[in-house]
Subunit: 101 residues, 2 copies
DNA sequence: GATGTTTATTAAAATAAGTTAATATTTGTT
DNA sequence: AACAAATATTAACTTATTTTAATAAACATC
């Protein structure tokens, strides 16, 4: 296998980089940790636990939903977010263990 | 273990997010892949393989050097870059295998 | 010391991301 | 229908990142 064949194509690179951007922000990282470890959660609970503003949190949630990382389901007044992209679970675990080193 | 204790503190979150930002860009991602798989490499070789502009490549390289992800060594006219942050090797392997799924 | 190569630096321009505040929407309750 | 609670959306603003082009610096060779 030569060098070139190991490299991803542009669109794969861009897609990967774009997904990684989801994790590369303190608020989004902690939202992801929460959802991976605790499962689905309402926007309000997320705000309370993370002590983050409603609007800002909502923006970050939509951001990740748009990228297919999260999904949401309304139940009455509340909207519950949860992980949609399953590979994010592995990725996050890797990140946690790599960063611990 | 309760929810809060699993969450990282702000400074850890910021540090992690900041390192993840290194990977969260197509050019930097491919530079990292190259260096992880091929070892040290001169700026010129990197540019050629990635078909990226010298100046832009150099900017991304300094960016990652500044964050402690890469290191560089001049040998004659050439400057060789290589991985400095060892945990980046694991992280990148995780990313590659997670993204393949 | 002039010239060519390789890399870094600077500054400007272009683009993107993050934050805030205010308001809108949806649903539930009285 | 009026009101409250939960969330989303919009628009303005701020800040950061990315890209480009031009130039400088470091080294090698002649």
């Amino acid at each position: 296998m030569n060098t070139a064949s190991k490299l991803l194509g542009i669109s794969e690179l861009e897609q990967t980089a774009s997904i990684l951007k989801s994790v590369a922000h303190p608020i989004r990282l902690s939202i992801l940790q929460l959802l991976v470890h605790e499962g689905r959660m309402s926007v309000n609970s997320i705000c309370e636990i993370l002590q983050s503003e409603q609007s800002l949190t909502s923006h970050h949630l939509s951001n990740m939903k748009l990228k297919g990382v999260l999904e949401s389901k309304r139940e009455g007044q509340k909207v519950y977010y949860s992980l949609k992209m399953e590979k994010m679970r592995n990725l996050l675990e890797c990140i946690e263990s790599c960063m611990g080193q």
